[in-house]
C-alpha cells in the first residue's frame, strides 16, 4: 500500500528514466600512476574506484600458489561517506567479504589466468558513493582497471542490475528502487560470447518472469559494453598520442 510508485502508468521511473534506460555512465582509465592499472567509474550517483596490481609473485604464504593459473585476489571496501548516513565500515565485515568473493568469481571467469601460473593478481575496489548497483559498478570499474594493467582477458566483463515491478523489468536500479524491496538481479556478462560470468538474486521471483528480467539485465550489460568500449578506445588513443606514434 504505502510506498513509492516505482513505475508510473506513463512508463516513467522515479528519476525520469524509462524501464530499460541506464543511468549516466562516465569512466576514466589510468587514474593512478602508482598502480599497474586503475579506473574510476560513475554510474549515476554510484561512484567506484578500482586498482589492479599484478600479475606478481605470490605475497604471503607460498602455499596459496596455484600450479596452473594465477590467483585472483579481490578486496572490496566502501567509504564511510558513501551513504546518506555516515557509518564506519571496518574491513572484513560479511558484506564486503561476500562482495570480494563475488568479484573474484567474476574475474576468474574473465581473466586468462592460465597464462600466469604461480602468480597473483590483486584487484582492490572502493565504493566512494553508493546509490544502488554497487556490484555492477565495481565489476565495470575493475574491468577497466584490469585492461589498464594490460592483463589478458577473454572479453570485457560488463555488469548490470535489474529489478521487476508490476510485470515490467527495470534495468539498472537506483538506491530508491532497491530499497523498495522487490526482487533484484545482478548479472555479469561477457558480451561478445553472451556467456554469463555471474548471476545473483536473493529474492523471490516467479519462474515465468525470470527470462524477462534476465533479458533486461543482459541488454543493459550490452549497453554498458558499448560505453566501456568507447572509454577504452579513447584511452588507447590518448596513450598512443603520448607515446608519439
Amino acid at each position: 500500500m504505502a510506498g513509492l510508485e516505482l513505475l508510473s502508468d506513463q512508463g516513467y521511473r522515479i528519476d525520469g528514466r524509462r524501464a530499460g534506460e541506464l543511468r549516466k555512465i562516465q569512466a576514466r582509465m589510468g587514474v593512478f600512476a602508482q598502480a599497474d592499472g586503475s579506473a574510476y567509474i560513475e554510474q549515476g550517483n554510484t561512484k567506484a574506484l578500482a586498482v589492479v596490481y599484478g600479475p606478481h609473485e605470490i605475497r604471503g604464504s607460498r602455499s596459496r600458489a596455484l600450479p596452473d593459473r594465477a590467483l585472483v585476489n579481490c578486496q572490496y571496501s566502501s567509504a564511510t561517506f558513501s551513504t546518506g548516513e555516515r557509518k564506519r565500515r571496518p574491513h572484513g565485515d560479511r558484506k564486503s567479504c561476500e562482495m570480494g568473493l563475488q568479484l573474484r568469481q567474476t574475474f576468474e571467469a574473465a581473466i586468462l589466468t592460465q597464462l600466469h601460473p604461480r602468480s597473483q593478481i590483486d584487484i582492490y575496489v572502493q565504493v566512494l558513493q553508493a546509490d544502488g548497483g554497487t556490484y555492477a559498478a565495481c565489476v565495470n570499474a575493475a574491468t577497466l582497471a584490469v585492461m589498464d594493467a594490460g592483463i589478458p582477458m577473454r572479453d570485457f566483463v560488463c555488469a548490470c542490475s535489474a529489478g521487476f515491478v508490476d510485470g515490467t523489468a527495470l534495468a539498472d536500479l537506483s538506491h530508491v528502487e532497491e530499497a523498495a524491496g522487490g526482487p533484484q538481479l545482478a548479472l555479469a556478462l561477457l558480451p561478445a560470447s553472451g556467456q554469463i560470468a555471474l548471476l545473483e538474486m536473493d529474492a523471490r521471483l516467479h519462474e515465468d518472469h525470470l527470462e524477462q528480467v534476465l533479458e533486461a539485465a543482459a541488454q543493459a550489460a550490452r549497453d554498458v559494453h558499448t560505453l566501456l568500449d568507447r572509454v577504452v578506445r579513447q584511452h588507447v588513443r590518448e596513450a598512443s598520442i603520448l607515446l608519439g606514434d
Binding site: D9, Q10, G16, R23, N45, E85, G167
Partner: protein, 1054 residues
C-alpha cells in the same frame, strides 16, 4: 539524450536528525504531449489517449485544485484537461493512495478527455526548486512554466487556462504570457461553465466543508476517539500477531452497538481464532465505517462480550433489553484503518423540527444515511431546508478524532422521498451502480440492422467460420416471448453412427472488440442489472436483442462446442470448439418442447415455423425435430447420471425451488416441478461450461477465468442441524452428497413448508460462488461444490455477463494457440484478471442486492397501499423457523417474506393467546427454551410457540423517512390461518409477484397521469418487463443458483 540533474532532499529521520539525500533526475527532450495539435507527433511519441480536437481551450489545474476539486474535474463535460505530473505527485504524496488511484483511473478511462503531461521529465519544463522557495510555490511555478511551454509547443494555437487557488499566482502570472490565462477555479467555472449547475453546487459544498474543517481544526476541542496508530506500527503488529487485520462488518440491526471483523487470510490461522471478532460500541469502532479494512487489537478476556440474541429495532437504541446476551466471544477495538472504503452515500436531511432541535450551528446538519450501517454524516450546507424532502447523495471528507460524526459534503439530489423513481435511484447509488444510457460515441461503432440496410454475413467471415447452416438442425428452447437468445442446441447422427451434440452460443466478441468503447462500458457494468420492474442492459439493444440473439430463421455468428458421443454409451470421444455460422430452425418455448417430447403434437399449430408448410413436409420435419429432442433428453439424462455417481448432488435443482418461493418475481414462470426439458437445457449448458473451463485452463493455466464454489464452513450448519433435530430429522453435512440425501429425507408429509425451510437454511449456510483467475489459486481450490465439478466457468450467456465475454476471448485464443497461430486477442495477465474478477464479483453482488432491495420496495408499496378494506389480504399464514429471546422469526410461504415478530413489546407487555386463540398484549414474562418459547402472563395464562408452528400474522408496513420502508409482522393468533376463500391463495400465490409489480406500477402511473408522456414511458417499461421475464430459462436457473449461494443472512431479520 537524457540530461542528468541532481535533486537534493533534506529529510528528517525518526531520531530527529536531518538526512541529506541526493537523487538523480533525468530530463529528456521530448515527452508525450497527447495533443492532436502537436507539431512533431513522431518525436513526442503520442501513443494512446489523445485530447479531443474539438475543445476551445485546454485547462491545466494547479496542484491544489487537483487535490481538492478532483470530483469536479471528473465531470465528463469538462474536456481538454491536462494534469501536470507535479500536480499528480502532490496528490500522491499528500492525499494518499485512495485519491491518487482515483486520479489514475480517470486518466486511464478513455471516456474522459484528460491526459497527463510528465512536465518534470521534460528538459524545458523542469524548473529546479530554488533555495528558500516553499514547496507550494515551487509546485505552482513549475506547473505554470509547463503550461507556458505547452502553449508554445502547440504553436500558440490553443489557449490554455491554468486554474489555481493561489491568489498570488493569479496576480503574478495572470498577464505574463499571452494565451495562457491564470484564473481561480471558481472564476473558471463561472466563466466557462455557467450552465453546469451540478459542478457549481458541488464546488460550493466542497468549499464550505473545507472551510468548516479548517475552522474546526483551530478550535480543536476534546478528543472523542483515540488516534489511529501509524502504519508502520500496524504492519509490525500484524506481523507479530499482536493485531489482527480484517474487514469491518456492521450489524444492520444493531448498527450503533455491534460490528464484526471478519478475519482475512493468514491471521486467522495464526491467532487460533475461529469466529469473527466483536467490536462493541462506536468508541471501540474508532471511526471506521462498514467495509473498511481495519486493524484490531483484542481486549483481555474479562472484557469480552456476547452478541445479543434478542430481536431489536433500529430506532430503539436503549440497551436496556434486560436479557443477558449469549456467551462471550472475542471482542476487540479498532486501532487503525488500513483501507477506507468510502463511497457515495444516500442520505436524508432531517425535517424542519429536527433541525431546530440540533440548534447551535444551523449550517451543520446531521444527515441520516439510507444504509443503517453507516453513521450519521455531518454536512455543512445552507440548503438543508430545501432538501429535506429529497434523497441526496453525499460523500464523506474526513473524520477527525475530535468529532463524533464524520464530515461530508453534498453532491447531488436523487429524487423525492417515497417517489418510485427516487427510491430506485437510491437503490442504484447505494449499490454503486451507474447506468447512464449508452453514449453516441459508443453507439456509432455499432453495426446497423434496419429494413433498408439489413445486416448480412460477410464473405470473409464465411471463409473462416464453419458453416452449419445446411448441415445441422439447430434450435433454441426458451421461455415464451424471449428476445435475447444466447444459446441454441443441435444433435445429429454422424456417418459412423456416433452422435454429435452441439451447443451454440451467440458470438458477442465478434461485435465487441477488446478495449473498444462498448467493451469498456460493458466491463464497467459487468452484468445486466435486473430490478423488479426494469432492467439495465450490459450491451446496447441492437446487440442484445438483435444481432447477437440467435433468433429463428436468420443467419447468426456463433461460438460452438460440439462433442462426438458414442452411439450407445454416450461417452464423449471428441470435442471441437470454434466459430460457426448457424441458422436456428426453430425457436421453441419450453412448454411446446415438453409437449412434443411427450408425443402430444397438438401444439404444432402454435409453432410459427410449421405454419406455412404443407402437410407432408411438415410431418417429416416434425419427426426430425422430435427425434432430436428425444435424443437430447437421453444424452442429458446420461450426463446427469454420470455427474451424480461421481459424487455430484442434486442440490441446485432443489434450491431452485426454494429460491423461487422466496423470489417470487419468477414464481409465475417456473412451476414447482420443473419440466424435464428445463433440466435438459441446463445440463447441456453446464456441460459446455465445464468443457470450456477445462479447455481454457489447459491452454492458459495461469490466466484463465473460472468459477469456484468453496465448500461451506461446518459451523454454519449448526442452526440447520438444531432445527432439524426439533422435528426429529438428522442432517448429515459432511459432504455435499450426504447433505443432499439427508435433506431429501427430512420431509414432513403433513407440512411441506418444513422441508423448504430446512433447505433454505442449508442455502444460507453456503458461501458464494465466485469468479477467479487460475493463476491466483491452487488447483484444489478450483472445485465447484454446488455442481460437484472440478472446473467450471461461465460461457453460455455473453449477452448479459461480462465474464462470459472474457471466457469467449480466452477460448478463441486457445483455439488459435492450438492451430499454432499468433494469438491476436490481447489477454489479461493474471494480475489484471484477478482485479477484473474482483470487480465482476463485486458487481454481481451489487446486482443481487439491488434486485432484492427493489423487490422489497415493491412489496412494501404493495402492502402500504392496501386500505382497511383490503385488510384480509395482509393476514397470512406463517411458520416459525427460529426462536429468539424476545420474539420469533417467521416465514410466510404465500408471499415469500421472512421477518421478525415480537412477543414482547416496548412497554414490556407479552403476547398471550386466549382460548379463542386471539392474541392480546398483557403484562408477563417470556421464557426461551431450545426449540420453544413460552410467554406467561401475570394472570397465569401461558402460550407456547414451537419451532415450525403455524401462526397467523398480520403484515403491515412501517414507513420510515430516512430509510426504505420495512415490513412488520405481528402475530394475531397462534393457530394456522384459515383462508375464508379456499380458492384464491393457490392462484394468487402463483401470479402474485407480477401482479404486485404491475399494480404498484399502475398506481404510480395514476399518480403521474397528468404527465401523459411519462405514463407512456412507464407503460413501455412494463412491456419491457414482460420481455425481461422472457430470458431463457437456463439463465434464470443460473441466476437463481447464484442467488441461492448468496449470503442471505442479513435478510433473516436478526
Amino acid at each position: 539524450m537524457l540530461q542528468k540533474r541532481e535533486k537534493v532532499l533534506l529529510l528528517r529521520t525518526f531520531q530527529g536528525r536531518t538526512l541529506r539525500i541526493v537523487r538523480e533526475h533525468y530530463l529528456r527532450p521530448s515527452v508525450p504531449c497527447h495533443s492532436p495539435l502537436c507539431p512533431q507527433p513522431a518525436a513526442c511519441r503520442n501513443d494512446g489517449k489523445l485530447l479531443s480536437a474539438e475543445v476551445t481551450h485546454y485547462v491545466i489545474p494547479d496542484w491544489k485544485v487537483v487535490q481538492d476539486y478532483l470530483e469536479i474535474l471528473e465531470f465528463p463535460e469538462l474536456q481538454g484537461v491536462i494534469f501536470m505530473q507535479t500536480a499528480c505527485q502532490a496528490v500522491q504524496h499528500q492525499r494518499g493512495w485512495r485519491q491518487y488511484n482515483k486520479l489514475r483511473n480517470l486518466l486511464r478511462d478513455a471516456r474522459h478527455d484528460c491526459v497527463l503531461f510528465a512536465n518534470e521529465f521534460q528538459q524545458h519544463c523542469y524548473v529546479p526548486r530554488e533555495k528558500g522557495e516553499s514547496m507550494e510555490k515551487w509546485q505552482t511555478r513549475s506547473i505554470y512554466n509547463a503550461a507556458v511551454w505547452y502553449y508554445h509547443h502547440c504553436l500558440d494555437r490553443m489557449p490554455i487556462v491554468m486554474v489555481t487557488e493561489d491568489e498570488e499566482a493569479v496576480q503574478q502570472y495572470g498577464s505574463e504570457t499571452e494565451g495562457v490565462f491564470v484564473i481561480s477555479f471558481k472564476n473558471y467555472l463561472d466563466n466557462f461553465w455557467p450552465d453546469l449547475k451540478a459542478a457549481h453546487e458541488l464546488c460550493d459544498s466542497i468549499l464550505q466543508s473545507r472551510r468548516e474543517r479548517e475552522s474546526e481544526n483551530q478550535e480543536s476541542h476534546g478528543k472523542e476517539y483515540p488516534e489511529h496508530l501509524p502504519l508502520e506500527v500496524l504492519e509490525a503488529g500484524i506481523k507479530s500477531g499482536r493485531y489482527i487485520q480484517g474487514t469491518l462488518n456492521v450489524n444492520k440491526h444493531r448498527a450503533q452497538i455491534e460490528a464484526f471483523v471478519r478475519l482475512q487470510g493468514a491471521s486467522s490461522k495464526d491467532s487460533g481464532l475461529v469466529s469473527d471478532i466483536l467490536i462493541h460500541g462506536m468508541k471501540a469502532r474508532n471511526r471506521s465505517i462498514h467495509g473498511d479494512v481495519v486493524v484490531v487489537e483484542l481486549l483481555p478476556k474479562n472484557e469480552w462480550k456476547g452478541r445479543t440474541a434478542a430481536l431489536c429495532e433500529n430506532e430503539s437504541e436503549d440497551k436496556a433489553l434486560g436479557d443477558a446476551p449469549s456467551e462471550p466471544m472475542p471482542t476487540g477495538r479498532v486501532v487503525g484503518i488500513l483501507q477506507k472504503n468510502w463511497r457515495d452515500y444516500v442520505v436524508t436531511f432531517p425535517s424542519k423540527e429536527e433541525i431546530q432541535c440540533q440548534g447551535r450551528n444551523a449550517q451543520k446538519v446531521l444527515a441520516t444515511p439510507w444504509d443503517y450501517r453507516i453513521p450519521k454524516i455531518r454536512i455543512s450546507t445552507q440548503q438543508a431546508e430545501a432538501l429535506q424532502d429529497f434523497r441526496v447523495v453525499v460523500r464523506i471528507d474526513s473524520w477527525e478524532s475530535t468529532s463524533v460524526y464524520p464530515n461530508g459534503h453534498f453532491v447531488r439530489v436523487l429524487g423525492r422521498i417515497g417517489d418510485l423513481e427516487g427510491e430506485i435511484a437510491t437503490i442504484l447509488v447505494e449499490n454503486s451502480i451507474s447506468v447512464i444510457p449508452f453514449s453516441e460515441a459508443q453507439m456509432c461503432k455499432m453495426p446497423v440492422n434496419t429494413p433498408e440496410n439489413p445486416w448480412k454475413v460477410s464473405p470473409q467471415e464465411e471463409q473462416v467460420r464453419k458453416d452449419l447452416r445446411s448441415t445441422h438442425l439447430v434450435f433454441s428452447i426458451d421461455p415464451k416471448g424471449c428476445e435475447d437468445v444466447d444459446d441454441a442446441l443441435s444433435v445429429r447422427t454422424l456417418n459412423n453412427g456416433n452422435l454429435e451434440l452441439g451447443v451454440h452460443i451467440a458470438d458477442v466478441t465478434h461485435f465487441v472488440a477488446p478495449n473498444s468503447y462498448i467493451d469498456i462500458e460493458a466491463r464497467t457494468r459487468a452484468t445486466t442489472y435486473y430490478l423488479a420492474d426494469r432492467r439495465y442492459d450490459m450491451l446496447p439493444s441492437i446487440l442484445s436483442a438483435d444481432l447477437c440473439s440467435l433468433l429463428g430463421g436468420v443467419d447468426r455468428y456463433a461460438v460452438s462446442v460440439m462433442w462426438e458421443l458414442d452411439k450407445s454409451s454416450y461417452e464423449i470421444q471428441k470435442v471441437w470448439y470454434g466459430r460457426t455460422i448457424i441458422r436456428s430452425a426453430y425457436k421453441l418455448c419450453y412448454e411446446a418442447a415438453q409437449e412434443l417430447l411427450e408425443g402430444n403434437f397438438s401444439v404444432v399449430d402454435d409453432i410459427p415455423e410449421f405454419k406455412d408448410m404443407d402437410l407432408e413436409s411438415r410431418q417429416a420435419k416434425l419427426e426430425e425435430l422430435v427425434w432430436a429432442l428425444g435424443k437430447l433428453t437421453d444424452i442429458a439424462r446420461h450426463v446427469r447420471a454420470k455427474r451424480d455417481c461421481c459424487g455430484a448432488l442434486e442440490l441446485e435443482g432443489v434450491e431452485v425451488r426454494i429460491q423461487l418461493d422466496e423470489k417470487k418475481n419468477i414464481h409465475d414462470l417456473i412451476p414447482k416441478q420443473p419440466l424435464e426439458v428445463h433440466e435438459t437445457v441446463a445440463e447441456c449448458m453446464i456441460l459446455a461450461n465445464h468443457w470450456v473451463a477445462k479447455k481454457i485452463w489447459e491452454s492458459f493455466p495461469h490466466q484463465a477465468l473460472l468459477r469456484q464454489h468453496p465448500p461451506p464452513h461446518q459451523e454454519f450448519f449448526s442452526e440447520l442441524r438444531e432445527c432439524a433435530k426439533a422435528k426429529g430429522f438428522f442432517i448429515d453435512t459432511r459432504s455435499n452428497k450426504t447433505l443432499a440425501d439427508s435433506l431429501d429425507k427430512a420431509n414432513d408429509p403433513n407440512d411441506p413448508v418444513v422441508n423448504r425451510l430446512l433447505r433454505s437454511m442449508a442455502t444460507q449456510a453456503m458461501s458464494n460462488a465466485l469468479y477467479f483467475s487460475t493463476g491466483s489459486c491452487a488447483e484444489e481450490e478450483f472445485h465447484h461444490y454446488g455442481l460437484a465439478l472440478d472446473k467450471y466457468t461461465h460461457f453460455t450467456s455473453p449477452i448479459r455477463r461480462y465474464s462470459d465475454i472474457v471466457v469467449h476471448r480466452l477460448l478463441m485464443a486457445a483455439i488459435s494457440k492450438d492451430k499454432e497461430m499468433e494469438i491476436t486477442e490481447n489477454l489479461f495477465s493474471n494480475k489484471d484478471l484477478e482485479e477484473l474478477c474482483r470487480h465482476i464479483n463485486n458487481r454481481n453482488r451489487a446486482a443481487q442486492h439491488s434486485q432484492k432491495q427493489s423487490t422489497e420496495l415493491f412489496q412494501c408499496t404493495y402492502f402500504k397501499d392496501k386500505g382497511p378494506e383490503m385488510e384480509e389480504r395482509c393476514i397470512a399464514d406463517g411458520v416459525i423457523y427460529s426462536i429468539r429471546t424476545n420474539g420469533v422469526l417467521v416465514f410466510i410461504p404465500r408471499f415469500g417474506i421472512k421477518g421478525a415478530a415480537y412477543l414482547k413489546n416496548k412497554d414490556g407487555l407479552v403476547i398471550s393467546c386466549g382460548p379463542d386463540s386471539r392474541s392480546e398484549w398483557k403484562p408477563g414474562s417470556l421464557h426461551r427454551f431450545q426449540n420453544k418459547i413460552t410467554s406467561t402472563t401475570t394472570g397465569g395464562e401461558s402460550t407456547t410457540l414451537q419451532l415450525f408452528d403455524h401462526v397467523t400474522v398480520r403484515i403491515s408496513v412501517q414507513a420510515l423517512r430516512c430509510h426504505s420502508d420495512t415490513i412488520r409482522l405481528e402475530i394475531i393468533s397462534n393457530k394456522p390461518y384459515v383462508t375464508p376463500n379456499t380458492e384464491r391463495p393457490q392462484q394468487s400465490s402463483i401470479v402474485l409477484k407480477s401482479e404486485l409489480v404491475k399494480e404498484v406500477t399502475r398506481s404510480v402511473e395514476e399518480a403521474q397521469l397528468a404527465q401523459e408522456v411519462r405514463a407512456k414511458a412507464l407503460q413501455e417499461e412494463c412491456e419491457e418487463y414482460c420481455q425481461t421475464k422472457g430470458r431463457s430459462l437456463y439463465t434464470l436457473l443460473e441466476e437463481i443458483r447464484d442467488l441461492a449461494l448468496l449470503d442471505v443472512s442479513d435478510s433473516c431479520g436478526a
